[in-house]
């Protein structure tokens, strides 16, 4: 009846995904919020189709950033509130990997739907097919970085009531590089002569770096959060 020793990672991923899609999980809230933000912008900006097309990639990126931040405060706090975090600290599994798997599950449940929704929302913003493709590709490469950077903030604010606000204040400045390179790569499809490859590669590098730094920093913060 005992399962193989290395099944724990899969078990954790499966459980996190189940929790995200069941009642009380936040899987669809992020993408609905994204939809709300992006649909509101044209009403605020007015019916200038050229302007919308020009700022479209930036709107999609900021919408994705806000939607990612929305659910992140519960990433570790839900586990802390019911005592799961204590048991995870005692589980005898590397906490960095536990954090990385939780981030992966969070991204699959909230980040990936944003990426998939981006081309559809691009229609609302009068984006050309090429620009839609560029925004979707940059979101695919960049949203993991948003989740991983956010995980550090989530771990730091895990013991605070209403830590979500502080989380946003802590995390938003750290995500500025991701936003800059994401939007500039996406803009390459709009403005002739701007390079796509260089900012896109930097964006991929930012995701990879945060894939290493994020879990290590978040695990450290979680170890100190136990009181």
């Amino acid at each position: 009846m005992t399962s193989p020793e290395n099944n724990w990672a899969l078990a954790l991923l499966q459980r996190e995904l189940r929790l995200a899609v069941r009642i009380g999980g936040g899987a669809l809230v992020g993408v609905l919020f994204f939809l709300a933000v992006v649909t509101v912008i044209p009403f605020g900006v007015g019916p200038d189709l050229n302007l919308l097309a020009r700022i479209g990639p930036a709107i999609l990126w900021i919408g994705a950033l806000l939607a990612t931040l929305l659910g992140l405060d519960r990433l570790f706090q839900a586990d802390r509130d019911d005592g799961t975090l204590d048991l995870m600290l005692m589980a005898g599994r590397p906490l960095e990997l536990v954090v990385l798997i939780k981030c992966l599950a969070h991204w699959l449940a909230t980040g990936l739907p944003l990426v998939l929704a981006a081309p559809i929302l691009g229609i609302f913003l009068n984006l050309e097919p090429l620009a839609m493709g560029a925004v979707t590709a940059t979101l695919l490469a960049g949203t993991p970085a948003l989740t991983l950077i956010g995980a550090v903030g989530a771990a730091l604010t895990v013991s605070l009531r209403r830590g979500g606000l502080l989380l946003a204040v802590l995390v938003v400045p750290l995500t500025i590089p991701v936003l800059i390179f994401g939007v500039s790569a996406a803009n390459a499809a709009l403005v002739v002569g701007t390079p796509f490859k260089v900012p896109f590669v930097v964006l991929c590098a930012l995701s990879l770096i945060s894939g290493v730094v994020g879990p290590v920093a978040a695990a450290m913060a979680l170890r100190f959060s136990a009181d």
């Binding site: 005992t2 020793e5 724990w8 048991l87 589980a91």
Partner: protein, 197 residues
Amino acid sequence: MFTGLSFALPAAHGLVVTGPNGIGKSSLLRTLAGLVPPSQGQLSLEGAEPEKTVAEHAHYFGHQSAVKPALTTLENLVFWQDFLSPALPAGFTPQAQSPSAILELLGLEHTSSLPAAYLSAGQTRRLALARLFVCPRPIWLMDEPTSALDTASEALLLQLMQAHLDNGGMIVTATHTPLTMSPCLTLQLADEEESPA
């Protein structure tokens, strides 16, 4: 919280920690569980598995159940079986339990495919207890283990705790209700100085 506290617990023994509210019983258990770093002093386990901390040999059964209401009873339990790494140092010989067998023993088998949100407080507590059997670990740290349990479940719990001691396990429990385990030591926490009986 406390100073000058020193005790040794032999294998296959239980330790009952008693004392008034706020004296530090729960803090002592959380320190043993490695969740609170001691500001001074050390903690060691003889005959421990190498490369594992004392906390990784222990189950912490505290006030919080770590049960996810959105998952079914069985999903909750199977996750902990897969996720927790078991510790089987020499001299500890538990009988391996499958999740469905332990749910049946604890009278939860009819709820195994129900979301845990439908469980009562006592049933949630029993589900949390089931975790201690699907992943064998020699040390049980139990904070008020009998709270929310009815008389019959309490008797069953005592039986299971006794069986754990007979298998060579150790139990440290903070409690107000008298628990009869044997062999068993008592640690009375008091304001000034403490001494194991």
